[in-house]
């Protein structure tokens, strides 16, 4: 049996080599852009004193939901400062912010197209299945090969890994909008574009925001793994704690990831529940 096998791996290697030859300038630009945006944002986040940042993020949570989330969020973030992981946490946060922005900017239009066309939906769905079930570490390899070791490789892998729920929930949200309301838009002579803007997107917003929330969570879990290919931040701390069998450092870095995750989850969920439909549910 072992004498002959499909040389799938070889084909992929050849394909990647071809990609590299043909699109080198594109990858260069992508690398430079990701690298630059990460450096700038990471610098910006550690620019103010850590306590000021904690207060700022706490205030943001307060605005989003209320004083309890504000105080709780600030207290949890203060713990990160106290275990001296603040700078790493801010680097991780920078990675998350950039990858989430890129993933959402790609995912929402794709989700809209999938909601409007059966064909697009049928093509997109298996691709998403593939993206979600492929072990995420595998994405790191082409990332490194194509644009080199460092945060940028981890960011590309993270975008690919985190995008699917954004697409899926955008499509679902739009498809769930009451068909009769959309029909009413048509019956009064609206254009498809204004139906999308005035009816479908506002009514799907809550579901889309749930998707964005998922994108953030997946992105956070992936940027930690991206430590394997040289992405800085909490991921790198986790990796070095593994290689040094340093339980203490592992727990500190891991706990920081958890705090960051819960903070981002609660705040984005709170923002989602301020959408038009959610407000209605409160009134009714």
């Amino acid at each position: 049996m072992a004498e002959w096998r499909i040389p799938l791996g070889d084909w992929v290697d050849e394909f990647v080599a071809w990609l590299l030859d043909t699109f080198q300038p594109v990858f260069d630009v992508l690398r430079d852009f990701l690298r630059w945006s990460f450096d700038e944002l990471a610098d910006l986040l550690v620019l103010p004193p850590s306590w000021a940042m904690v207060a700022l993020l706490g205030a943001l949570a307060w605005l989003a939901r209320g004083w309890r989330l504000g105080v709780g969020g600030a207290a949890s973030l203060a713990l990160i400062v106290l275990i001296d992981q603040w700078e790493n946490a801010m680097q991780t946060l920078a990675l998350v912010i950039i990858t989430v922005l890129v993933a959402v900017i790609l995912a929402i239009p794709i989700g809209i197209l999938a909601a409007r066309s059966r064909l697009v939906s049928n093509i997109v769905r298996p691709v998403l299945d593939f993206m979600q079930t492929m072990p995420p570490l595998v994405y790191l390899i082409p990332g490194v090969v194509l644009i080199g070791v460092g945060p940028q490789a981890g960011m590309v892998a993270t975008v690919v890994f985190a995008m699917p729920p954004g697409i899926r929930l955008t499509e679902l949200g739009i498809r769930q909008v009451d068909a009769e309301v959309v029909e009413a838009g048509h019956a009064f002579g609206s254009t498809p574009r204004s139906i999308l803007r005035d009816i479908q997107l506002p009514l799907a917003l809550q579901t889309i925001m749930a998707g964005v929330n998922q994108v953030i969570m997946l992105s956070l879990s992936m940027v930690v793994l991206a430590g394997f290919v040289g992405a800085p931040g909490l991921g790198q701390q986790v990796i070095s704690s593994i290689s040094q069998l340093d339980v203490g450092l592992g727990v500190e870095a891991g706990l920081s990831v958890v705090i960051l995750a819960i903070y981002l989850d609660r705040v984005t969920a709170a923002l989602g529940s301020r959408s038009a439909v959610a407000r209605l549910e409160k009134v009714a």
Partner: protein
Amino acid sequence: MIVAAIRTEGLYKVFGRRANEALNRLRDGAAREDVVRLGVTPAVIDATFEVRPGEIFVVMGLSGSGKSTLIRMLNGLLPATAGHVYVGGDDVAALDAAALRALRRDQMSMVFQHFALLPHRTVLENAAYPLKVRGVEKGERAERARAALEMVGLDGWEDRLPSQLSGGMRQRVGLARALAAETDIMLMDEAFSALDPLIRREMQDQLLELQQRLGKTIVFITHDLNEAMRLGDRIAMMRAGRIVQIDTAEGILRAPANDYVAQFVQDVDRARVLTAATVMEPAAGGSPEAGQPTVAPGTLLADVFGPALGSALPVAVVDDGRMVGVIHRESLLAAMTADGAANGVRAGEGEVSRG
């Protein structure tokens, strides 16, 4: 000759992949059941009718009879498989997307069964929606929407959200939205079917009252025969995709086109449909005797019973001071049965319904 507000010609809608094959067979006279075996659903078959300006044209049929499909072909929400719909001078089927939108914006508005209001917009914004689509400036939009809301008795509710309103009030918003569009034609798809009976009755009264003032051309879809008879100037009866009869309520009651329609109208409250003029025996003029009760020709029979009870003399039907006919108690009773109403044209073996 009156120019029809809406005219359809040989209109077909067949759902399914082999629609064209089914269409050809139907045109060759195949029965609906025969083409269903092709895996298609013939929803509307060969519908030809005219809606006159200013009338309420009711399309009445049970669920699955194709009436909702039919109304959606009138404004092009569903493209016809074959046939034509003429609105004004336009053939709806021949319009491109932009012209179709213009037609919907400017000529026909619609009221939906489940209201189809924008849940995230206030009552005022909902009523103003067609004007917004049309690009009317904001201040004027609000003003005209306010006027429409006032017409349906919703003044004071402008800033509420639809979810804060009862079902009947929501449909008033739906009605106000259609009125605010100021189109000559209004399509109403089972507009009152989701409301409970008391509210439904109220809405019917309101529609009739508004119609007296505004004189719109209304196509009204319903599965409720009493509603059809109450509202419709003329009624199109649909069954399994075909229009089987188009006539006034009285015409359908007096001469049902087939057994299906006859069976259908059995339970109608005849006293509230038939008028004195249709059951009277013509009289050669003259004037009523002293003490003889009188009614106008347009009086519903429900309102003739009282006068008939009050005197042993037959009720005189008086038009413009002239006696045009008389109604004996016997003919009043006979009119309450399907056979009596047909003026004895149909052989009298059907059961007598309770009057």
